[in-house]
């Protein structure tokens, strides 16, 4: 009967109330445990950065507060008990408090300011108001989060943004001025260059004509010994004229590039027949073909629809490509073709010359790069700005320009024009 269990007590001890766990009905242990739980919870709440208010939903009065009140808002929590919550808010928000407390929605959030009654210090806060269901009497839980830091950061960001905008505007103005100055400079330069150049070329031509028509026939009869010198003079005058022409072309190209970059190029689009375009381009380079002895093969597909484009500018592109091809043709024929493709008309110029070195293919349409490397392709003469201009013109028409290097040598420059300009 006196069998003892592991705790050293017998069943009989426990039965007659002498066991270790024998305790008369007492709620204290349970109350103590709950109280500890609550106190720990309260201590936790008091250490967080938010202020928590419990409101009576019916009156809007504060019935309990916890969290960081003393530090952040300079409030003694006990002074707030019984105070209407709206007294802590700015008037324009305060007048809606009762409405919020009686609203159906579960959680209300708002950004406002909070202060302790009697204090002049307003603290920016994020407030969330919740009305938990099933509480009797009904209570609202208001959590206020101090957002001073965030506000400061936002202000700082705004200030930096404004500063940046200001700087961008200043830079844009400066750039605009610089651009304008550049354009003005270019037009002045070209004008100032072209005017004397025109005189130089003009007078050189007049001098050559005078030599040819008056001086040389006179000299031929009396002073035969002077003839070789005069012929030499004529030759030199021709060099002046042709170099003068080349300089004029260069100036024209420079002007074009300047206009294109400044967006000052105007396009006059019309309906343009493609085979005719090819014929006109061919005519334009006939002199060049003749003098270089290169054959031009033209191949235009039948029934190519017309395109809407600036005729002169597109002609400029085709002539440019043809002139390049003739220059680098190495005696082989040059082919000019037009085909209809899915997304537009494709116009191509094919030569069988040395081709474009691989490292230049990507940058060949960039200005100055072409210039810098033009000598590498062949020791030929040209402004080198032509491809840059072509690219600008084609892209302004909604097309694209590119280069192919066929396996059997040479190059193919081609561009596309949309049948309906984009």
């Amino acid at each position: 009967m006196a069998r003892r269990d592991e705790s050293g007590e017998t069943q009989r001890d426990r039965l007659i109330g002498l066991g270790r766990r024998s305790i008369a009905k007492s709620y204290y242990p349970e109350l103590r445990r709950r109280l500890d739980e609550l106190e720990m919870f309260r201590a936790l709440l008091d250490r967080i950065n938010d202020a928590i208010f419990i409101l009576d939903v019916l009156t809007g009065d504060i019935v309990d507060v916890s969290g960081s009140l003393q530090d952040r808002y300079d409030c003694a929590p006990e002074d707030l008990i019984g105070v209407p919550f709206r007294e802590l808010l700015p008037p324009h928000v305060a007048r809606y408090v009762n409405e919020i407390l009686n609203s159906e929605s579960g959680v209300t959030r708002l950004e406002t300011e909070l202060h302790c009654p009697g204090s002049l210090k307003w603290t920016p806060v994020d407030i969330s108001i919740q009305i938990p269901e099933g509480l009797d009497p009904p209570r609202a839980v208001v959590v206020a989060r101090d957002i001073s830091e965030r506000k400061r950061a936002e202000e700082e960001l705004k200030r930096i943004n404004m500063e940046l905008e200001q700087r961008v505007m200043e830079r844009t103005r400066a750039l605009h001025k610089a651009n304008q100055a550049k354009s003005e400079f270019l037009s002045i330069v070209s004008h100032e260059l072209r005017t004397p150049l025109t005189s130089i070329i003009g007078f050189a031509k007049i001098m050559d004509r005078r030599l040819k028509r008056s001086i040389i026939p006179e000299v031929e009869s009396d002073h035969t010994d002077l003839l070789p010198s005069l012929e030499k003079m004529r030759h030199n005058l021709n060099v002046v004229v042709s170099e003068g022409d080349r300089l004029t072309n260069l100036i024209n190209d420079l002007l074009d590039v300047a206009k294109l970059e400044a967006g000052g190029m105007e396009y006059h689009t019309v309906e343009m027949d493609v085979p005719e375009l090819l014929r006109r381009a061919s005519d334009s380079v006939s002199g060049l073909l003749e003098s270089s002895g290169i054959e031009l093969k033209i191949n235009a597909e039948r029934d190519i629809p017309p395109v809407i484009a600036d005729r002169d500018r597109i002609l400029q592109v085709v002539i440019n490509l043809l002139s390049n091809a003739i220059k680098y043709a190495s005696g082989e024929p040059v082919e000019l073709s037009a085909t209809q493709e899915k997304d537009g008309i494709r116009i191509a110029v094919r030569d069988h010359g040395p081709g474009v070195p691989e490292h230049l293919r990507e940058s060949i349409f960039d200005k100055f790069i072409t210039q810098a490397h033009a000598a590498e392709r062949a020791p030929m003469k040209g402004t080198g700005l032509g491809l840059t201009i072509c690219k600008h013109i084609v892209e302004a028409h909604g097309g694209s320009i590119s280069i192919n290097t066929p396996e059997d040598g040479g190059s193919e420059f081609f561009f596309t024009l949309p049948t309906q300009p984009g």
Partner: protein, 387 residues
């Protein structure tokens, strides 16, 4: 043998005794800060005016209540779990029970199931209750079980077909409002059974090996009250003098046995109740004199004192054998006067069931405080005589 008392504990609830006590339920619940209570009673009780009387006292104090009356005699584990669910669902804060031992035990169990969130069967044994139940106010309508003052709670484990005992000082109710008026609706038969139950409690507590001066006082006075009032209460149900005497007898016995514990009568009676679902008070009454016969020699003086409290004339120098005979005579006489002459056999207990009954009874905690240590075979003998 030492003459000073051994180490003992005595636990009692707050008691209000007397006509009108039941109407103080509302006031006590309000004092316990409860605003909504579970009102436990049984269907039979709802036919008497008492539940409404207590409900009115609750309403007068602004206390609302949820009625739970799905309680049967020998309350079942499922009834307890249902009650706990009703308690929780209605967010009750305390329990008020109006009824006999069954309703009160059910209410006690509902309370601890609710606070501990455990199945009621997990509390079986001594000191197995972790947290006390919610405040419990008892309004007993019988005078016998004394569940309203005791630390015991008996629940019917329907799956195992046994009655489990939950024993813990935390099971002692907070307040017991003992109003003799409420016992006037008991039938003569129920008055007899519950009265003999109270008598058995007093006897077993007095002869318990855990008796104390406190329990002795209550036990002997309980027997005296029963001797004086039981027969009158049976014969004159409206006699408030007799009803008050029996309410006192029951309460005194409850205070005694809750602290000194019981003995073989209850061990054997629990076994009968579990296996055959027989009325508890009646089983106790049938077994009482047979157990006295078995135990007498262990504490002859104490049994003689009990017989004297019943009115028997047993001189100090009477031989034990004669004193035993006189004691048995006194107890058999009061049983007879109460109309209990039935045997276990007449209640349907077969001889073949005795071994199983004894095997269960020998392991009942009440055997720990029986004055005479016994083995199962001996209990079989007692069962046999009671058949």
């Amino acid at each position: 043998m030492t003459s000073y008392p051994a180490l003992r504990k005595f636990v009692a609830p707050e008691l209000i005794f007397g006509i009108g006590a039941a109407e103080l339920a509302g006031q006590h619940i309000a004092n316990l800060s409860a605003r909504k209570v579970l009102f436990v009673t049984d269907e039979g009780m709802l036919k008497t005016p008492w539940p409404q009387m207590v409900m009115d006292s609750l309403s007068d104090e602004g206390v609302s209540y949820t009625l739970f009356s799905n309680v049967t005699p020998n309350p079942r584990d499922s009834e307890v779990m249902n009650g706990a669910e009703v308690f929780q669902k209605n967010r009750c804060e305390a329990i008020v029970v109006v009824g006999g031992g069954s309703a009160i035990d059910c209410a006690k169990a509902i309370g601890i199931v609710n606070t501990n969130r455990q199945n009621v069967l997990e509390f079986e044994g001594v000191d197995m209750v972790g947290h006390p139940g919610p405040p419990l106010v008892c309004v007993p309508t019988t005078s016998g079980s004394a569940a309203d003052v005791s630390q015991f709670c008996i629940i019917n484990d329907t799956a195992r077909k046994v009655k489990i005992a939950i024993v813990s000082k935390t099971m002692v109710p907070d307040v017991s409002l003992i109003d003799p008026l409420l016992t006037t609706t008991m039938s003569p038969e129920l008055t007899a059974h519950t009265g003999l139950d109270a008598l058995t409690h007093a006897v077993e507590a007095y002869v318990s090996n855990a008796n104390s001066p406190f329990t002795d006082l209550h036990a002997l006075e309980s027997v005296r009250q029963s001797a004086t009032h039981l027969q009158t209460a049976i014969e004159e149900p409206q006699n408030l003098d007799a009803r008050s005497g029996m309410s006192l007898a029951s309460t005194y016995a409850g205070l005694a046995f809750s602290n000194a514990i019981l003995g073989a009568v209850h061990a054997m009676s629990h076994s009968l109740g579990g296996m055959l679902d027989l009325p508890h008070g009646l089983c106790n009454a049938i077994l009482l004199d047979h157990v006295i016969e078995f135990n007498f020699e262990a504490v002859p003086e104490r049994y003689s004192n009990l017989a004297r409290a019943l009115g028997a004339d047993i001189p100090e120098d009477m031989p034990v054998k004669d004193a035993k005979a006189a004691t048995l005579e006194a107890f058999r006489d009061i049983k007879k006067r109460c109309g209990v002459e039935v045997t276990l056999a007449e209640l349907g207990v077969g001889e073949e069931e005795i071994a199983a009954l004894a095997a269960t009874a020998i392991n009942d905690p009440c055997m720990l405080t029986n004055p005479r240590q016994a083995i199962a075979a001996e209990l079989e003998g007692v069962y046999g005589k009671a058949r």
